[in-house]
Symmetry: C3
Subunit: 310 residues, 3 copies
């Protein structure tokens, strides 16, 4: 196995390492004991963008691993005095923080930090601008693997605001690499040619009957202004691209519904479906804690801060 | 005893259960040991409205019971992306949170959650809109019981902004139920007919000599605009309805002064009285930690998360 | 040794007590074990002004001493309802907080609290308005002592916005008292006659060759408006008063560069120098944790909350 000293983009991992990460997440969920820390370990979660799910899930994962948290709120920090991200991170490192989990609006915020010879604490990416969202991707992989036993050969549709979703970009690349067959849907204007060659773009009525996994993406409501000249509202979005009760009837019996959340109920998906038998949306959140425990474990072990699994 | 799976409104409790809760708070304050948790327990405190006292008091109570806290700031959470309260709570539940303490501006915010078949984590009400504030009421009951040994037969006055105070509504109903004789005071325009039948409304000079307990309510300073046409200021309020040094001389020797705080010194009460021998205002805050420990204990025990008291 | 029941201004300490504090910080850094707490101890950090460094450093120090933290955010607290600082502190005391670390824009915010007969919890000053910043001064002293073995006889320059820097005021007084020879530099308009008699004011070219320690102060960028009529920008500041690469060549080989941070790179100091061999800027931050552990230890021991060092 390769050592994972930072966890920034799952695309950097060899397939065997990625599978190892998924398996560790699964093992934690199945009750495998957490290896001991070799000494007290301190982490800081720096969320420069709003989040409930990812931030509280990382907190839970850190607590379950026995990591101590230093609370830093970027909104009341020296970042407000114009400090660069690398100087903020070096400050945390100087006071003894071992790991930092960062969400930042800048795509690839970690690039400068990784190249900075003065920075040696562990970096985990909780979302970078228009980039990726590796812990979300890992929890999606875990959710699919638990459901179907494997990812290879599954037909997976990613539907909605493809151009602006780091979940879509993050997931599509990795799912393809692991052998899934991809489909895309949603407004044409929201498609991005970054997805060309990864799968087939089609309308929902056409693709839904094929799919094993229907991943609906969140609609950024503020985006309804700039699609095109015609009035385009949440109601017309739902009618044209939403997973309505009628469209859900097109799905296979064994197919599941996923969504990175927060869901806009009755905009991208019928509220009833969110809570229905096909939905794995809250299961995804539950799995997210184990996915993050696995990521943190690998980084801690690569840094000699945690015992190896027996 | 009835099991208290959620603690939302003390009026839901049978008198014996309420007395049991007060007694447990008292016992904790007298040094009774905290029963062990059966497994690690995680709580989140969601304060959608500003608070120092209640929030930090719940934190202290949780820490004294050995509960782990997941920090969520509603002001930087997905609530800002339009997520409903029930979906926020289900998110926390999905990541493994066992209990959530919520203050929210919506009256009876908990109604939807209690009826939601997908929500099964513990809910504690730290204040709901124009509704109630059970942990404040419980600490008030504890403060009075410690002072007088019982509540039955005591003459208790609640004075000030009755119409907008959830403390007033919360306390009046329960105090009446426990056998106290109630008096009300303050501006007539701030009285609410919700209190009709619960006690006697009178001016301070008339009621103060009768009372065992003088509960002054906080004045929301922003409310001075909309009372009536005449100019009405903090100075005229203090003159007409405040507990001045002169008025305090009308009180019985054994009577005590209470206030839910934060106090506007020299608006609803003379600053000197806040710090004087009759004041139990800081005692109330001190008692609040034990009151909240008792509430949390009952909910934890009802859920099988904490050992029973021996 | 005198007991340090509160730590508010290092100028209150006898020289032997101050030396004792520096030595304890040094001992902690050298691996001396932390004495046990006699019972659970609770602290609250109240930062009314933004901070990353000081706040996270105090958190780390508190955690290393085994102190439990009650999280209070002054921006969402009852302070917003007009509560006075002394009532906020008394609230925390009432719920069982033993120590509070406060940064506040009011100079000598602690004066009222120390004189208040109702306040008996421990107070630590993390910066008071135009006053002092004792934990910063202590970490500066520790950094200098570790470098040179002693402070007496060293030539130390403090350069920049002297009039508005609590670090400058705090450090200058104490360094002088400990026998350092002081020099001052920066814009004349930013000098304050508070420093008269403490040292020599000169231009950088004149004083740099003399100095053992070059302490650069942070420039408050918002201050560029009110210096004088001429346009004065970060570029002209850097040219006239910044520690450029050329000016750094005037320094002695053994001299070091310090800065309280956050640094404005290429405004008060060349970015390359921040990361260079003479810089102790991140070392200062690292030392800060041990300095704060020492302060907290002394206060805890003075209050009978922590065992004495063996």
């Amino acid at each position: 196995m390769t050592e994972i000293k930072n966890c920034l983009d799952l695309a950097d991992l060899a397939p065997a390492d990625l599978q190892d990460l998924i398996n560790l997440a699964q093992a934690y969920q199945d009750g495998q004991a957490v290896p001991a820390l070799k000494r007290p370990v301190y982490a800081a979660n720096l969320f420069f963008e709003n989040s409930t799910r990812t931030k509280s899930s990382f907190q839970m994962a850190e607590k379950k691993l026995g990591i101590d948290l230093i609370e830093v709120d970027p909104k009341t920090s020296s970042v407000q005095k114009g400090e660069t991200l690398s100087d903020t991170v070096r400050t945390l490192q100087a006071i003894g923080v071992d790991l930092t989990v960062i969400r930042h609006s800048q795509t690839a915020w970690y690039q400068d930090l990784v190249e900075n010879p003065h920075i040696h604490l562990g970096l985990l990416n909780a979302g970078d601008g228009a980039g990726v969202h590796p812990s979300q991707t890992l929890l999606d992989l875990l959710t699919i693997q638990k459901e179907f036993g494997q990812i290879k050969g599954l037909k997976i549709g990613i539907i909605g605001d493809l151009a602006h979703s780091r979940v879509a970009k993050s997931d599509a690349k990795i799912l393809k690499q692991l052998g899934a067959e991809l489909y895309f849907g949603g407004p044409r204007a929201w498609y991005s040619n970054e997805f060309d060659g990864l799968g087939h773009f089609g309308n929902l009525e056409e693709i839904l009957p094929e799919l094993d996994v229907v991943m609906m993406l969140r609609v950024q409501l503020e985006r309804f202004d700039d699609i095109n000249r015609e009035s385009f509202t949440t109601v017309t979005y739902y009618d044209q691209y939403g997973l309505t009760l009628d469209r859900a009837k097109l799905m296979k019996d064994s197919a599941i519904i996923m969504h990175p959340a927060p869901v806009n109920r009755d905009v991208e998906i019928a509220s009833e479906l969110v809570d229905g038998g096909k939905s794995r949306i809250f299961t995804q959140m539950h799995n997210g804690v184990y996915a993050r425990m696995a990521m943190l474990t690998k980084v801690l072990q690569a840094r000699g801060l945690m015992e190896e699994q027996k």
